[in-house]
């Protein structure tokens, strides 16, 4: 056993044990490294004997080595994140990097595990809308370049969107159409995005005029289920925390015989293509591919500060003056 008594076995321990240089050990353990078969065998044996883990420190810190970036997203079935993955992939490829995407299944634990498992495979991480708390995320990402998207995390550079401003645009549009009673369907309380959007509504609408619904958990089902409660409030317009929830609302409203936008104006949030299905939804567009491009650039050109991108109301066919 080596002289080191604390921490993990390092490449230096393996090198010392065999009386060869650390760089030879590194080459022997790297699939592309050029060493004799004999050396490779000796190094592999020693590494196994000493309990050296390939995914431990030594390879993490080398930058620009893998020409790959890790992208963590909570749920690829949500088109919002699929478009981010696409944007990141295209930008990184144009800059000579592959992107390995991990879907972390809306789980903080899976996120932290994925960081640990991928850290030697990538030169850095783009972490999109993570579920982990700030402290654990920063700890997991220590020693590896990382950028956060669509969330602010103390201690990490981020790319976010001007959500308050987007909410203001949505509410201004509805007020200009003559709506006085505008409901809001809140998203999951644990989500930074949902929280920021809700804060935007609360900041823009005087407390006595607020009509707060939700929070929904399952997006489409949640919107579908909250529609009846919405009708009971007497509101003539509603902003949903995202497009999928707005689609759920529209689906239930249609089943109730409520015409959109004649009887009820509906605004979604995100501006997804899926929101243009059949009955195109007015929505606040939040940058996805563009934000991913910024995040990749930020990762590959460190030292730049955080970026806040604009949001944009897109008026389609689900909003009109109250009848």
């Amino acid at each position: 056993m080596s002289a080191r008594t604390t921490g993990r076995t390092t490449i230096h321990d393996v090198a010392a044990d065999l009386g060869i240089s650390a760089s030879t050990v590194s080459r022997a353990l790297s699939p592309q490294g050029v060493v004799s078969d004999e050396t490779r065998r000796r190094v592999e044996d020693a590494a196994a004997r000493l309990g050296y883990r390939l995914n431990s420190a030594a390879r993490n810190l080398s930058t620009g080595r893998t020409h790959a970036l890790g992208l963590l997203v909570p749920d690829l079935r949500n088109p919002f994140f699929a478009e981010i993955a696409k944007g990141a992939q295209n930008r990184a490829r144009a800059r000579g990097h592959a992107v390995y995407v991990a879907d972390t299944n809306l789980s903080a634990e899976t996120e932290l595990e994925a960081v640990e498992m991928m850290r030697r495979d990538v030169d850095g991480f783009v972490v999109c809308s993570p579920w982990s708390d700030d402290e654990r995320l920063v700890a997991a990402l220590s020693g590896v370049p990382a950028v956060v998207m669509h969330r602010e995390v103390e201690g990490l550079p981020s790319v976010t969107a001007a959500l308050h401003d987007g909410m203001r645009q949505a509410l201004d549009h509805l007020r200009a159409l003559g709506h006085a009673r505008i409901a809001y369907v809140a998203g999951p309380a644990g989500s930074w995005n949902a929280r920021e959007r809700r804060r935007g509504y609360e900041a823009e609408v005087p407390e006595v005029e607020q009509v707060m619904l939700g929070p929904v958990v399952d997006q489409f089902e949640g919107g579908f289920s909250v529609a009846d409660a919405l009708l009971a409030t007497g509101a003539t317009a509603v902003v949903a925390y995202n497009d999928i929830t707005a689609l759920g609302l529209v689906s239930r409203l249609a089943a109730r015989g409520v015409r959109v936008p004649k009887d009820m104006s509906v605004i979604g949030f995100d501006g997804l293509d899926v929101a243009t299905l059949a009955n195109p939804l007015t929505s606040v567009s939040v940058p996805r591919a563009l934000a991913a491009e910024h995040a990749v650039d930020l990762l590959l050109r460190p030292g730049t500060s955080s970026v806040v991108l604009p949001t944009q109301l897109v008026v389609r066919e689900s909003t009109a003056a109250p009848s």
Binding site: R41, E44, Q89, N90, Y100, A102, T110, V274
Partner: protein, 332 residues
């Protein structure tokens, strides 16, 4: 110069994919061939680090998954299913998107080869004669595509097409349009074969009205062809095409399902979110990905794969985009 699997294959007088199968046990290999390949490998000094993944038995605990387009909900569902099952088994799936470029597939696999224990491939556009190039890099399982060389999971396309058409016939439709996918798509080829093989009642016809890209825009473009065909019902190549079709039909003032019934294929999440909800053939997307992961992990961990050719059933999901044709002789 290091000995490659190609050298082993040449000396053993077999194809590289057969040599690969002999190492990975990822498909049928004649016992005599198996022994010969291993003997040649030993003789040439083709060792461990080159086919490490199959011998290490899950050393990286990571699997690669190659898909053509993550923004296509079909693949998003597959990824989700694979990721969830892999997680249960202690593996992480690294997904890469080839941006619909079959040439990028081998680059991606090469970049990932040393970082993963095996690969799940979703490759609907790679020509058959180039598939071997992708499947010879260690343990591999194909999703929604068949192969002679490696295990695969697919759904029963003939059954799916039959379920959709039988339902339309039961609703009284006689003139049914089929809006086909792109000529180069492997799954569109299967769909065409299934339609040609249908045993239709007298007086019922299924006509292909056009071939469109397997995207929303493809359905938008196909909408006018469907309307011009005069058919009372249409089966679209997939849900995404069907949703584009719905979009165009609304713009043309054609009411769904009153004027035209629309059926999709796949049952991606957005099929249920459209208004009207899309009637569709549900492919077992999540189940197929889970099964594929199970097979791949068996290969990686050196267990025999029970069934190397898994065919999963489909079922029809009836929503609001289909309705019965008014019976003849009935007046308003």
């Amino acid at each position: 110069m290091a000995v490659t699997i190609r050298d082993v294959a040449r000396h053993a007088g077999v194809s590289p994919s057969t040599a690969s199968r002999a190492f990975t046990l990822s498909g049928p290999v004649d016992p005599e061939t198996h022994a010969r390949v291993l003997a040649v490998a030993e003789e040439l000094g083709y060792r461990r680090n080159r086919w490490a993944s199959s011998l290490r038995g899950g050393a990286t605990k990571k699997l690669a998954m190659i898909v053509p387009d993550l923004t296509n909900p079909f693949f998003a569902d597959l990824v989700r299913g694979a990721q969830a099952r892999a997680h249960e088994l202690g593996y992480l799936v690294l997904v890469t998107d080839t941006d619909d470029d079959p040439r990028a597939e081998s680059e991606m696999l090469a970049s990932l080869a040393d970082r993963v224990d095996g690969s799940l491939l979703c490759t609907p556009r790679t020509p058959d004669d180039q598939l071997g190039r992708l499947t010879s890099r260690g343990p591999t399982v194909l999703l929604h595509r068949t192969s002679d060389d490696v295990p695969y999971v697919i759904s029963d396309v003939a059954q799916g097409v039959r379920l959709a058409v039988d339902n339309l016939v039961a609703l009284g439709h006689r003139d049914i349009a089929y809006l086909d996918g792109p000529p180069e798509s492997w799954s569109a080829g299967l769909r065409r074969t299934a339609i040609a093989a249908l045993d239709l009642p007298d007086g019922v016809a299924v006509r292909t009205v056009g071939q469109v890209p397997a995207r929303f825009e493809g359905g938008v473009a196909g909408g006018d062809l469907v309307v011009a065909s005069g058919a009372t019902a249409v089966l679209a190549f997939n849900d995404v095409v069907a949703l584009g079709l719905l979009h165009r039909l609304v713009a043309r003032g054609v009411r769904v399902p009153d004027d035209l019934s629309v059926v999709g294929y796949d049952d991606v999440p957005s099929a249920a979110m459209a208004t009207p909800g899309l009637t569709t053939v549900a492919q077992p997307l999540v189940a197929s990905a889970r099964t594929g992961v199970d097979m791949l992990v068996d290969l990686v961990e050196g267990r025999p794969v029970g069934d190397a050719a898994v065919v999963l059933p489909t079922h029809l999901v009836v929503r609001s985009s289909t309705r019965a044709v008014e019976p003849l002789g009935r007046t308003a």
